[in-house]
């Protein structure tokens, strides 16, 4: 809490503590219920059943082509054959669909497409939550109701606009589209999160002479880290796995993400489908890494309602 102004600190931390103890109480109760042996056994069972297909995919990705095409992955245990050929073929740049360069494209698309909506949504959510202006509630409902519009209907008009603006075939089309599609939900989630923060905290900061900018940066942002991380993960996974938006807007293979390459990997007539398991694992690596590294924020963001910055 060193970054808070000294005078606001006592009030802020006391309130935060009180809130934290309340949520701490709730999570303790959940913890108690969830640690019964039966629940644990069920959870472990579910986890195993859930993981089997993915595990089969992993085993498949290391098996030679002939084995994949003739037998199931479980025969691996009676007849272990391992090869890295599938990964080599999936990553090779010999043909158009080598995943290597598309891997970088995916990063270039995803990082700004996560940062842009988070920045905008955090500011907008603050305004909706803590700045009083006329028509605020109406505007908020309007923004959230945009969530109802399926993004598919926006694709063609958007593409037409990009072409007119001269953006077609650049990364901007993807960054802007993903940001636009993410904003309604992002604003809604962050707004709900911000209204949970005790009003007295803001008032205390006000009394101490902090303006909106200072409150946002010094109080809101630190408290909101779990929510930002939770939404960041959501958005990251969504953009990373997106195929439809990329197919529509990324018309040039210098900007296409990995999902597009993955869709083409099996060949014109789908004859090279043995590469798909390897391709899937190359594409999974990054989301899994992101999820695992940010997992604690994710869980906290969902469970605690967030007052543990």
């Amino acid at each position: 809490m060193t970054s808070l102004t000294p005078r606001a600190e006592p009030v802020a931390s006391r309130k935060a503590l009180a809130a934290a103890s309340r949520t701490g109480h709730a999570s303790a109760r959940i913890k108690k219920k969830a640690t019964s042996p039966v629940a644990s056994a069920i959870a472990v069972l579910l986890a195993v059943v859930w993981t089997i297909p993915t595990f089969g995919l992993l085993v498949s990705s290391f098996r030679p082509e002939a084995a994949i095409k003739t037998t199931g992955w479980w025969t691996f245990f009676s007849d272990p054959q391992l090869t890295l050929d599938n990964y080599q073929a999936a990553l090779s740049t010999d043909t158009q669909s080598g995943l290597g360069s598309f891997f970088i494209n995916s990063f270039v698309i995803t990082i700004p497409a996560v940062i842009i909506p988070i920045c905008l949504a955090a500011l907008a959510a603050y305004a909706f939550a803590w700045i009083d202006f006329r028509g605020r509630d109406f505007l908020f409902v309007l923004v959230f109701s945009l969530q109802i519009v399926p993004l598919q209907v926006a694709l063609l008009p958007l593409l037409t606009m990009y072409v007119k603006a001269g953006l077609a075939g650049t990364f901007w089309t993807l960054w802007l589209s993903h940001s636009a599609f993410a904003l309604p939900l992002a604003i809604f989630i962050l707004h709900n999160f911000m209204t949970e923060i005790p009003k007295s905290l803001i008032e205390a900061a006000r009394v101490d002479g902090a303006g909106h900018v200072k409150i946002f940066y010094r109080i809101m942002l630190p408290l909101m880290t779990p929510a930002l991380a939770a939404f960041g993960i959501f958005q990251f996974l969504w953009v990373w796995n997106d195929l439809l938006v990329a197919l529509t807007f990324a018309s040039d293979n210098t900007v296409q993400p990995m999902t597009v390459a993955l869709a083409n990997l099996s060949g014109t007539r789908g004859t090279a489908w043995e590469l798909l398991s390897a391709g899937a694992f190359i594409s999974i690596i990054v989301p899994v890494a992101v999820f695992i590294s940010l997992q604690r924020y994710f869980v906290r963001g969902l469970l605690a309602g967030g007052l543990k910055g």
Binding site: Q96, I104, I115, L155, L159, D252, V260, A272
Partner: protein, 455 residues
Amino acid sequence: MSNIRSRRRLAAVSGGLGLALVLAACASSTPSDNSKAAGSAECAAYKVYGDLSGKSISVYTGIVTPEDKPYMDSYKPFETCTGAKVNYVGDKAFETQILVRAKAGNPPDIAIVPQPGLLQQLVATGAAKAAPQAVADNVDKFWGADWKAYGSAGGKFYAAPSGASVKSMVWYSPKEFKDKGYAIPTTLAELKTLSDTIAATGKKPWCAGIGSGEATGWPVTDWMEDFMLRLSGPDVYDQWVTHKIAFNSAAPTAALDAVGAFLKNDKYVNGGLGDVKSIASTTFQDGGLPILQGTCSLHRQASFYASNFPKGTKVAEDGDVFAFYLPGVQAADHPVLGGGEFNLAFADRPEVQAFQTYLSTDTWANNKAKISSDVTGGGWITANKGLDVANLVNPIDKLSASILQDPKTVFRFDGSDMMPAAVGSNAFWKQATAWIIGQSTKDTVDKIEAAWPKS
């Protein structure tokens, strides 16, 4: 809190990294300066296109790995000699995306369109550009009027043909024919006699499979188109496809009945697979495989079926399996049912027109055939009469190309690809499947006629 600050620094770094990557991507996309030092002898044929240094042309297609590499390689002589850069983008979602892009005003320079029906739709968006005179001249010279018509819309010529495939093929076992002394039939009557001869030995001569997921039934549509073309001639075939005659009129009914004489004949089918109904439950990929086991002698399927036989099968005139041309009513008749792609342009910049012209020449056809032979072991042919059959390595490719180039050949495009989607990729397939499992010919053609959209 230091934690937060360091994370913020991390965000800044990653943002910067993203920017750097964008810049790098931009830098690499500038056309590389092709050295113009390429041998002048090799480039003599490309002089007509002039100097196109620094220009780039985008190609969009549904052809992806591994068939995409021969395409890109076949563009290289053009790129080295003219200095232009060709950017090839393959996408399996081509057939839907090309319409989206054409409508939104973001089309590629050249699209490789696999169906005349789609070509008509694309021209209707108003984004396509008519082909320059040089391309039209090449098509007159290297293809026939029939192919030119498929690349035209509304009386204007748009797109030169590219690759092609031949569907009028009957697969057989050369060894069996040799051992039993069967001759390759040259008329439909001879084909019938041959079938009877084989059936008399107690073996069911034909095998077939029409299962293909949502598209189950399409192999029957090919059968019917082939017989329509043979029994009623190309003019009536065209009228049938464009619905100038009703689907349940006399000619189509007769054609379907003629197919029934083979496919719904208990004595003829389904060799190695079961009875007539087993045709509907067998996938088209498996339909011809009994030939290899010797339980079936004849299977009608397009030239691309060659890749369906397991690795190690010798597909050749003296091999395990090969195909002959599905004959006409008379030996002199030479109707061929097939498919193909067309190079449709959406821009008329000089470099695009030059490239379009290159793709319509015999030079490109031979470059492509040679490269396909080297890279993918063949599997690509064109109806371009300038194609030197010696450039093909694969016997089935050679046969297909010689069928297409035969001066007597009357080529017709797969009719169901040109009918409205409600028929060509819906009612026709479904009713054909129902017909196989017992529906009468009359009911079948009546129901397809009823599905034809009223316009």
